[in-house]
């Protein structure tokens, strides 16, 4: 089976029929990880354990008793999920060398279903950032930087300029996961999403990025950033695969009291053909300042696509959208200030050599362990939580949060099924350009289209749509009603089928994957 196949439709069958073995799949992925090392997508590659898991999976297939679709499938996990026996660093000095004694619930679920964990992926330090550039292990490179499609469109500025300086970012903070999926080194990856951290890199790397409803998937073992907004995110190459992953991960977890108790029924996505009963909302405030004209045009084309297929398309208003970033800024830094308090060097993680007093040891440990971004957010958060500021900033932000969440309630109450918006303001920026602004500024700019869904706890998904003029992926976002992932994914799948997003043409992958791959029509959408 080609590395490019869909899980349910092709790979699962191939494994069951013995046309490919879990060990082969695992070895192929591991080899590809090695040859794409320059992407810096992985912090830890779990070669030994992965091969062992693949072996065990192979035994199960031989006995005719696979655990399910995910049995034997190589998966990558963002490095802010605890993995027993495998280093978990959050791309920070604070946790370098930290080996967790337990698996995050979502990791355990994957392993229980036979998935093969190939490695932990790179991110912005403690998931703070929108570029995957601010981690202690260096930035992640977008695989599309090395694609035929991008190289064809780049104009070299001079003879001496090599492609080294031209590479573009993955977006963030789950950039490593997005790059891993995009470059075929795994079939799916876990990310996290607090302000857009799964959907943003998904858009820049041309993969599907799903942010589930808050409360659907357990956060137990996901090192927390903002307890009231964090969710584990799912990155895959197609919407169907996202549904498979969702089916394996969703559901109540007694270890996470913020997971709802409703029984979750995994589903297969129907092949929607008739969209005439659908009502799509186009929120006018998402025509944000800085939105590239290319994306505006693409968004408009998508709208037309739905209209022409018979769906009802309505312009709607989410009036408090412009305040969602400011609101997020306050709530996020406040919760971060609280969540980062656990890192004091005593029980785990980095510990400073300072011995004079507990407080001075804590201070030195945190000074040495955290980067500027993290420290900045902790200090800001503590400022907003000071007695004299609490009502004025923190409580105020909580009130604005309600207004933002209510905006969505109003719109969905008025008969809208799904919202369609852009995911990012533009295609991926070159690294050299991106780092010219600081992390907070960038995050404020880049999170604008994704953040409100986290505020309101709604499910949202990025679907890769077309290539930009520079040959880079651009995605569009669908936002659904709470816990209506089936409807959201069904519409997303229909849309995915319409746009026929082109496959990335990467030399490294083509060398490894000798199986005949289907030539897909290049984007009929741009």
């Amino acid at each position: 089976a080609a590395l490019k196949d869909g899980l349910r439709s092709q790979v699962s069958a191939a494994l069951k029929e013995g046309r490919v073995t879990p060990t082969e799949l695992c070895q192929r992925c591991l080899a590809l990880i090695k040859s794409t090392k320059f992407l810096n997508a992985y912090i830890t590659v779990a070669e030994e354990t992965a091969l062992k898991q693949a072996e065990e999976s192979e035994e199960r297939y031989k006995r005719g008793q696979p655990l399910g679709i995910l049995d034997g499938i190589p998966i990558a996990v963002k490095d802010n999920f605890n993995t027993a026996g495998i280093e978990t660093t959050c791309a920070s000095n604070m946790l370098k060398g930290y080996i967790s004694p337990y698996n995050a619930t979502v990791v355990q679920k994957l392993l229980d279903r036979g998935a093969v964990l190939v490695g932990k992926t790179n991110l912005d330090e403690f998931a703070m950032g929108s570029g995957s550039t601010d981690g202690v292990f260096g930035p992640v490179r977008n695989p599309w930087s090395y694609s035929k499609q991008y190289k064809e469109k780049s104009v070299p500025k001079s003879h001496s300029e090599d492609e080294e300086s031209n590479w573009v970012i993955t977006g963030g903070s789950s950039g490593g996961s997005a790059a891993a999926v995009s470059s075929f080194t795994c079939f799916a990856a876990l990310g996290s999403d607090t302000g857009g951290s799964t959907r943003n890199p998904a858009a820049h790397c041309g993969v599907v990025g799903l942010k589930p409803t808050y409360g659907l998937i357990s956060r137990h073992g996901l090192i927390p950033l903002v307890n009231s907004m964090d969710v584990p995110g799912i990155l895959t190459r197609c919407v169907d695969d996202a549904a498979v992953l969702l089916g394996s991960l969703a559901g109540h977890d007694p270890k996470d009291s913020t997971t709802i108790q409703d029984v979750f029924k995994p589903f297969e996505l129907p092949n929607l053909t008739d969209v005439s009963k659908l009502s799509i909302g186009i929120p006018k405030e998402y025509h944000a300042p800085g939105l590239s004209s290319e994306i505006v045009a693409l968004w408009s084309k998508a709208t037309d696509l739905f209209k022409n297929a018979g769906a009802k398309v309505v312009e709607v208003s989410l009036p408090h959208t412009p305040y969602s970033i400011v609101c997020y800024h306050v709530l996020c830094t406040a919760e971060v200030a609280s969540n980062m308090a656990r890192f004091d060097g005593l029980e785990y993680g980095h510990r400073s050599d300072t011995k004079e007093s507990t407080e001075s040891m804590y201070a030195a440990t945190r000074r040495e362990g955290f980067n500027d971004v993290v420290r900045g957010r902790i200090l800001s958060g503590n400022y907003f939580l000071l007695k004299q500021n609490y009502e004025k900033y923190f409580v105020k932000a909580q009130k604005v949060r309600r207004l933002i969440a209510n905006d969505f309630v109003q719109v969905f109450r008025s008969g809208i099924d799904i919202l369609l918006t852009p995911t990012t303001l533009s295609d991926a920026a070159p690294y050299t350009e991106f780092i010219q602004e600081d992390n907070r500024t960038r995050s404020a700019q880049d999170d604008i289209l994704t953040q409100a869904a986290n505020m309101a706890g709604l499910p949202a998904i990025n679907v890769p749509t077309a290539l930009s003029e520079r040959g880079l992926p651009v995605g569009l976002q669908f936002i659904g009603r709470s816990f209506q992932e089936k409807q959201l994914l069904t519409v997303a799948k229909w849309f995915e089928k319409q746009v026929q997003f082109p496959m990335i043409q990467l030399e490294e992958v083509e060398r490894h994957d000798s199986a005949v791959f289907q030539h897909q029509k290049s984007a009929s959408f741009s």
């Binding site: 007694p254 009291s257 709802i260 400011v326 007093s357 955290f370 200090l379 400022y383 309600r402």
Partner: protein, 108 residues
């Protein structure tokens, strides 16, 4: 208005994280300025929202012991320990005052 040195010092004590340089202080100033935009929104009569799941009940589970006995595994990650204790330097010693501390704020 700029944040006073007293407040900055207070924050360093609370957060146990330091403003390493003027950039750090600038960063806070900008963050506050940014947050001030919140005051443009009229929130009269609006209740603060703690959680998007506020309409649901937080549940209780039975008080049964289902896991534990993992002292060894938990101590594994600590750098300084004695028998089953995490070892900390002496407590009840507050961080030195501004004048006595090695902090960037001293110069302010």
């Amino acid at each position: 208005q700029k944040v006073s040195v007293e407040v900055l010092d207070h924050l360093e004590h609370l957060a146990l994280v330091d403003f390493r340089d003027s950039e750090g202080v600038e960063r806070l100033q900008k963050a506050i300025q940014f947050a001030d935009q919140l005051h443009e929104v009229n929130t009269d009569g609006v209740e603060p929202m703690d959680s998007v799941l506020e309409d649901r009940c937080l549940y209780l589970r039975e008080d049964d012991v289902t896991e534990g006995n993992c002292t060894k595994a938990l101590l594994e990650n600590a750098r300084e320990k004695v028998e089953e204790y995490f070892v900390a330097p002496p407590g009840n010693i507050p961080l030195p005052k501004l004048e006595e501390r090695e902090t960037f704020l001293q110069g302010s």
